[in-house]
Subunit: 356 residues, 2 copies
């Protein structure tokens, strides 16, 4: 029997391969696999005008040893992050998260107090974002901790923003800064090795001084509800949007492929945090590469019409990084000296990390 | 720091402990943790009459080594079952399943062909039950296979059946037969050991002759959509309902506790399959104990008004096993000689099986 290694396909190739010929049978299914969320219309036969309410649904799984390392991630933070990354997918559709279910697989290593800590983080996230925890499943596992969360949300039909709506000449915007969560992970990993004694330094305590923001971005990300609300107030409806979980390059390529367009983003426009630059220098990493390919920032990447430029400028923490082009121009990074470099989706590919 | 072992609480105690003081913030949340599904009303401010459509949501996680053993469970069957057990939870609320998301954690042991087999089972189940696969997540794991499925469904508000509506003198009914899936598991386990050579028998091939039905019940359970439709046609609305995934005793105790009632079920009324009886004798197991506590039958347990008795009788494959009593009488099994034995929820407790 033929055996094709999953690693030869990558995560997105695999998902595409397994789901490419799914045909919806339910009239309520508006959009299935292929965006940040699925979209459902449960108005059931009622003639739906433009402002019908849609239900959004997204699911994520986090596995110990792949997505998190409990040597440096407190369980409360892990719970918070596990919930927030799902909210982020709902906001990335221009929706509002409303309910989650949480399924846990836990080995005997974990105590009731551990799960209380994990739940306290999930609940804190739910309180802050106004989301209800409505169910789930808790079962034992042979090894480690597994967290699977599904989030529902709502949006008016005409508000929903998919990945496939980017048009030529649209502006490309990102929020916050890029590569910071990745640099936070590098810092945690460096200090873990230092404390364990890798020979490079004598220390009993990790040294995070002056780099607290990097840790916060890695350990306790927030979903950009604030930006979604500000865009709404300003009367801006993005033409395409997604959240940056796998790195800017990878996400930009999704939007361009699904929208049938190209893009040019400018290296000197990428928003990069000062602490991240300092650490990248210390660790001899290229910060632009980190900003393009580092995952887990959970910032928003969106495109909008040039006509919205004036409305966009006053909004804090949104950065114009480039524009949408004709498809035949490809997906390009324009360097500081004007050189054009094709973007690569070398981002965060969890399948390269599997051990067994 | 205090350390309380999870095993001291059990699955339901743990879930109750972690979720007991959750307060819904979303007006759309009608019912959260504590039933087969959560219930949402997304009609958003529209004055909802009795027949407003509700959205149901349920999540399940299946872990290799805990919930399934790939030595004898084909991946296609596993996919089918993983989907169907979620549909069963939606039917148990008297709803119709509509969409699922599937999140997978897979180690390098698995090939693309393996995942195709798993997905083919999921898709077959979806086709048969008219459900759409609309999303999910696929990521690598350090060890083994993890499957987390969330299912959405719909029901008219007045059709939804919770666990807490059983009334004194209601009839207690179950569908199909009980303990059969558990006996199928015993058979698979016995033949696995025989083939591996436990010394009891010389064999190179498992011997399932005459016991195929037991295997089918374990490997390829179906959700009782047929019963839900027949009850609807007959104009019967159960007062309480759930599906039997952890064993009849455990489920009956859930209904009685949540409804504030007691029950009496009769040993000689329990529907038990002939093949299960034969195997139980061969294996020196008490078939009544298996019927009461064996999990994974995915049959329906429901209560309904005595007034529905006449309508109930003509429906195939529904069995009256007892009646609801005053709470002070407790939850009782009445034996063949009239003896009264308190039911125990010793069912399928996944936390007793954890290895590490």
């Amino acid at each position: 029997m033929q055996r094709t290694e999953i690693s030869t396909m990558g995560e997105f190739g695999l998902i595409h391969h397994l789901t490419k010929d799914l045909k919806p049978q339910q009239p309520s299914t508006i959009r299935g696999v292929g965006d940040d969320c699925a979209v459902m219309d449960f108005s059931e036969g009622t003639p739906v005008t433009g402002d019908g309410l849609r239900v959004l649904m997204t699911s994520d799984m986090l596995l110990e040893g792949i997505h998190f390392n409990l040597e440096y991630v407190p369980l409360k933070h892990l719970g918070y992050k596990a919930a927030v990354v799902n909210f982020s997918d709902i906001y990335a559709m221009n929706g509002t998260p409303t309910q989650i279910t949480v399924s846990l697989g836990v080995s005997k290593r974990f105590s009731v107090e551990d799960l209380e800590a994990l739940y306290s983080g999930i609940r804190l996230a739910c309180e802050r974002y106004g989301v209800d925890l409505v169910g789930g499943d808790t079962c034992s596992s042979m090894t480690g901790l597994t967290i699977a969360i599904t989030c529902l949300g709502t949006a008016k039909a005409e508000d929903i923003v998919y990945r496939n709506g980017a048009k030529q000449n649209d502006l490309i915007c990102v929020t916050g800064n890029l590569g910071t969560a990745y640099m936070g992970l590098q810092l945690l990993e460096r200090e873990r090795l230092a404390v364990m004694g890798d020979g490079s330094r004598v220390t009993a305590q990790p040294d995070f001084e002056g780099k607290e923001y990097l840790l916060e971005r890695q350990l306790k990300p927030e979903a950009r509800r604030d930006i979604i609300l500000k865009l709404r107030e300003a009367g801006i409806r993005p033409t395409a949007m997604m959240d940056i979980s796998d790195g800017l390059s990878s996400e930009l390529m999704h939007i361009c492929r699904q929208s049938g367009v190209g893009c040019a983003v400018y290296e000197d426009k990428l928003p990069i945090d000062y602490q991240a630059v300092v650490l990248a220098e210390e660790m001899n990493l290229n910060i632009v590469t980190c900003a393009l390919n580092g995952g887990e920032d959970y910032e928003l990447l969106f495109t909008c019409s040039l006509d919205d430029y004036e409305k966009l400028v006053p909004i804090d923490d949104i950065y114009l990084i480039g524009h949408i082009t004709k498809p035949e121009l490809g997906t390009l990074l324009v360097g500081r000296n004007g050189e054009e470099i094709p973007l690569k989706a070398q981002g965060f590919n969890a399948f390269q990390e599997s051990e067994k």
